[in-house]
């Protein structure tokens, strides 16, 4: 069974709240890395998903970046997400240069910055990548600008583990991660992890309530990112979109008529938005992928190690094709699967640099369901509407077939109190099903349905609720403008930047 396990991973970006003490520079010997590893100063500002017409207060943070070939400055996506202003600074150099984000990959937490001022590149020496991933217990060095000082810091440790794990930045994506026991602290984010002077990873997150566990984005993930952007655009990781069961159970194997010579995993759910939709079916047993045999546990042998077969797909780019050998109807056949999938509105990632969509009418604020909005709610609340939000955020939209009736879930996220909506509180955080009898398939539908009041009233029906929210149409219309003014709402709606 493949499910995301909850872990508490923390991005190691240094926030402004941590005051850095002023330390005088001591004379020291310059290493070759000083010119390659830079400090990144960022002013962030996030959109406020609870008041979606405005932004939260700006905050300052710092991270690390390093030069690779072609004058590219590699860092973490989380260092530069929601950035309003970015400056980069070389160690021992007083000057700060404005930088901009050239590519950002939120699903694997990587970004490339560029600096327009040519003076910044004087004396810079790009770091080279190692030819392959290191073995366990090999000595590594982490460079960066963590808290506790201003200048470049070096820590040392060994490779503790190479595993498949959650990338906290998006909150849902799993890729290969490199675990080291060298100290990785806030501010180290985006810094290189070196083995014999060559890059094997990029420090990016730690684990709370644990000691000496630091994580780096490993070489294969960085290389894949660089290949992906070669065409000038980042496409991201395609989702295969299946859930599967291992086939170690002899009774299950007999039921599937699976010969003893095969291992494989049994597909039990095919995501309608995944690459596998239309090609793989429930009940198929995946025997091999690209000629790598899949064991009864779902592992393949790759570079001498047993890894989950999905890792093999990880290195593929958007649009590439992989061939599965599958067991279907008592025979083995080959099935090609093109790794591309449509945008999936029912996967709820952390959102960055995305202006929230919303619409306000008569003090009722409607917005599509997002993970950012869910973060504004109390997870422990014994409230049916709130728990329903977490139910859908948790991936149940597709298992319950809810996705068939809509393009997105539309939520009543807030009430701006006014006499016209004073009885609307029980409906807060409810998912809007119908407005004036018309189905709500997406945010835009709410406002357009409000144009056709029924017998002088607007009637809103919510998912899982028996009661209806009723507004007096004339009163709502006349209150609308004054509510916008009273609560300082600059625009009554934002439907997205696309036309």
């Amino acid at each position: 069974m493949s499910t995301a396990k909850p872990r508490t991973l923390v991005a190691v970006l240094l926030g402004a709240a941590l005051c850095l003490p002023a330390v005088r520079a001591a004379p020291r010997r310059r290493s070759a890395f000083h010119a390659s590893v830079v400090k990144i100063h960022v002013t962030h500002q996030k959109w406020d998903y609870a008041l979606p017409w405005q932004m939260r207060r700006p905050t300052n943070g710092t991270g690390t970046g390093f030069f690779i070939e072609r004058r590219r400055l590699l860092t973490n996506a989380h260092v530069v997400s929601d950035a309003r202003y970015i400056e980069v600074q070389k160690d021992g150099d007083d000057r700060r240069f404005p930088a901009r984000v050239q590519y950002v990959a939120h699903d694997c937490d990587l970004a490339i910055l560029s600096v327009d001022d040519p003076r910044f590149y004087e004396g810079v020496k790009p770091l080279a990548f190692a030819p392959r991933l290191p073995r366990l217990d090999q000595m590594v060095t982490v460079l960066g600008y963590p808290l506790g000082g201003h200048r470049l810091s070096v820590t040392r440790g060994v490779v503790s583990r190479i595993d498949y794990g959650l990338y906290a930045h998006s909150g849902v994506d799993h890729h290969l991660v490199l675990q080291v026991d060298a100290a990785i602290n806030p501010g180290n984010s985006g810094g290189p992890v070196l083995e014999s002077g060559r890059v094997i990873g990029l420090a990016f997150q730690g684990l709370s309530r644990a000691d000496n566990i630091g994580y780096a984005v490993p070489l294969p993930v960085i290389r894949r990112f660089l290949r992906d952007i070669e065409d000038g655009r980042y496409d991201g990781y395609p989702e295969l979109g299946i859930r599967f069961l291992d086939t170690r159970n002899p009774a299950l194997r007999r039921k599937l008529r699976l010969p003893d010579r095969y291992g494989g995993v049994a597909v039990y759910f095919v995501d309608p938005f995944g690459s596998a939709a239309g090609t793989l079916r429930e009940g198929d047993v995946l025997l091999a992928v690209e000629s790598h045999r899949i064991s009864g546990n779902g592992n393949v042998l790759m570079d001498g190690a047993n890894v989950l077969f999905l890792e093999l797909l990880e290195r593929r780019l958007w649009g590439e094709q992989v061939t599965f050998e599958i067991w279907r109807d008592g025979a083995s056949i080959e099935v090609p699967v093109a790794l591309r999938n449509p945008p999936d509105p029912f996967v709820y990632r952390n959102l960055y640099d995305e202006r929230p969509r919303y619409s306000v009418y008569a003090g009722l604020v409607f917005a599509p369901l997002t993970r950012e909005y869910a973060k504004t709610l109390n997870r422990n609340a014994v409230n049916a509407n709130v728990q329903q939000i977490f139910y859908f955020i948790g991936g149940h939209a597709k298992t319950g077939e809810w996705h068939r009736d809509r393009e997105e879930f539309v939520v009543l996220i807030r009430r701006l109190p006014h006499a016209v909506n004073t009885y609307a509180d029980p409906f807060l955080h409810g998912i809007v099903e119908r407005v004036n009898g018309q189905s709500v398939r997406r945010l835009e539908d709410v406002r357009s349905a409000l144009d056709s009041a029924v017998e002088g009233c607007h009637e809103l029906a919510f998912l899982g609720m028996d009661a209806r929210l009723v507004l007096d149409a004339d009163a709502a219309q006349s209150a609308h403008a004054s509510i916008l003014g009273r609560y300082g709402i600059s625009a009554e709606r934002h439907y997205g930047d696309d036309p």
């Binding site: 069961l245 159970n249 977490f390 139910y391 319950g400 899982g464 009661a467 209806r468």
Partner: protein
């Protein structure tokens, strides 16, 4: 000086009268040993615990106390004032819907206890005394005053009952403590808030109805009309629904399947009156005995299961009347029963797979943050439609978890997943599972919600595996409950 003396004499005379209205020998301390079924391994019980409270004599060797105190009891003992002797008692009847229990002395221990006569009336503002034991087993009287009369939900009851709130001077030391007025027994305490010094009391009319009912078998319990409702204040909604005035009537939210309201009342009806009593937009009516009360009290206290009551409703903007035959709400009608009494739940362990039905008790057994610990599908089902099955008899059957053994290799990570089919046939409750397993001899395959592949168990190995699992995990009973 003389005047003051007279006043003192008057006061003590009055106090004397209060004590005399009830005989203090009718109050007993109750010691209860309780033991629950283990919520996660229902073939065993958790450690026994002890609690103490009070009961009072109603004559004939019988006593009344609260149901919550006696829930899951294994031993009940009574103690008189100033006596160390413990007299064994047995529980005859409990009703969690009114939080009352009737017990009697074990025949061997029977000795005479005077009956505490029930009072005829009690009003807001009246002074009363709460009777309890002090540390020397002497009877202690706490002065209290009735400050509020309301219709509220008792702990875990499916609907509300008439209660009184009392303002108390000294801490109340246990549930079941009788409350007496100058007229007799006014009620018994079921809850006490030490910070606010407020005790909650089940009043005499509820106790009287319970005792009358208990005397005439079969016990019928409290009536229910079988719907949920909400206040209807919003003028726009009222106009939309065609409510005749600004302040009359509440909104019917849902009709519970299997009750007398099914097919008679409808979601969206505005309920204007019940048995001729006008209901305001917050749900209150004017009770002849107690004044302003929430209208469910008309059904709970003035009518009994089997009676018919007439509601006047607005439906589709026109007024009509609807006659609803009342019945007692049964927990079994729910999609997700509460099982407040902690009865042993039916379950089945086959091949290490633990199958059961979801109950409110099971969900809450996961802790205060149960909404985070339980599968979100179950949380949503419970919070949105626990009392509204799509059809009568529908339950949520789950694979609670898997006790690892070779036979269930590959399935061991599944927990709290909804079971939709067993041995190839759809199941809607655990009875279906039992029936299917009886028919096929064993649990051979299991389908989980939104899963296109069955979990299959080896038929040739399952008998051996069951024996092995029973020994390894100490499963004394692989199944509880059976087909009917």
């Amino acid at each position: 000086m003389t005047f003051r003396f007279q006043l003192m004499a008057c006061l003590s005379l009055w106090s004397f009268a209060v004590v005399n209205a009830v005989d203090e020998d009718g109050v007993v301390r109750m010691l209860v040993t309780r033991q629950e079924y283990d919520c996660f391994q229902p073939w065993q019980k958790s450690a026994p615990t002890q609690a103490s409270g009070y009961a009072f004599s109603v004559g004939g060797g019988r006593f009344v106390s609260t149901e919550t105190l006696l829930r899951n009891h294994t031993l009940v003992e009574l103690q008189r004032v100033r006596s160390g002797t413990k007299l064994r008692a047995v529980v005859e009847l409990t009703d969690p819907q009114v939080n009352l229990a009737l017990l009697r002395l074990d025949a061997a221990a029977e000795t005479a206890f005077p009956e505490l006569a029930l009072a005829e009336r009690l009003e807001r503002g009246d002074s009363v005394s709460i009777l309890q034991f002090d540390d020397t087993l002497e009877l202690q009287r706490l002065d209290a005053r009735a400050v509020q009369v309301l219709v509220e939900r008792l702990p875990h009851a499916p609907y509300s009952t008439l209660t009184f709130r009392l303002l108390v001077d000294i801490n109340v030391s246990g549930e079941g403590a009788p409350v007496v007025s100058s007229e007799g027994l006014a009620g018994l305490i079921f809850k006490y808030d030490g910070n606010a010094r407020i005790a909650s009391m089940i009043p005499h009319p509820v106790i009287r109805a319970f005792l009358d009912d208990a005397r005439h078998a079969p016990y019928r319990g409290v009536a229910s009309a079988g719907f949920t409702w909400t206040p209807l204040v919003d003028p726009a909604t009222r106009r939309h629904l065609g409510a005749p005035s600004e302040d009359e009537g509440v909104l019917l939210l849902s009709v519970l399947p299997g009750t007398g309201a099914e097919g008679v009342l409808k979601s969206g009806d505005v309920i204007l009156s019940c048995e001729g009593f006008a209901i305001d937009n917050l749900g209150f009516y004017q009770d002849p005995d107690f004044g302003r009360l929430a209208f469910p009290h008309i059904v709970k206290a003035r009518r009994r299961p089997g009676d018919s009551v007439t509601f006047r409703v607005v439906r589709g903007r026109t007024q009509q009347t609807a006659d609803v035959r009342l019945q007692r709400w049964r927990d079994e009608l729910a999609l997700i029963p509460e099982n407040v009494e902690g009865r042993r739940p039916p379950y089945l362990v086959e091949g290490g797979l633990i199958l059961r039905e979801v109950s409110g008790r099971y969900l809450r057994a996961h802790g205060n943050d149960w909404t985070r610990r339980v599968d979100l599908h179950l949380v949503r089902e419970y919070l949105t439609r626990s009392r509204q099955p799509d059809f009568s008899g529908e339950r949520v059957v789950i694979l609670q978890g898997v006790l690892p053994h070779e036979i269930n290799v590959g399935y061991q990570e599944f927990r709290n997943q909804v079971v939709t089919a067993v041995n190839g046939a759809p199941v809607t409750n655990l009875m279906d599972v039992f029936r299917s397993v009886e028919e096929h001899g064993h649990l051979r395959s299991l389908r989980l919600r939104s899963m296109g592949v069955d979990l299959v168990l080896d038929e040739r190995e399952i008998a051996t595996a069951n024996r092995r699992l029973a020994l390894t995990y100490g499963i004394t009973e692989p199944q509880y409950g059976h087909t009917q």
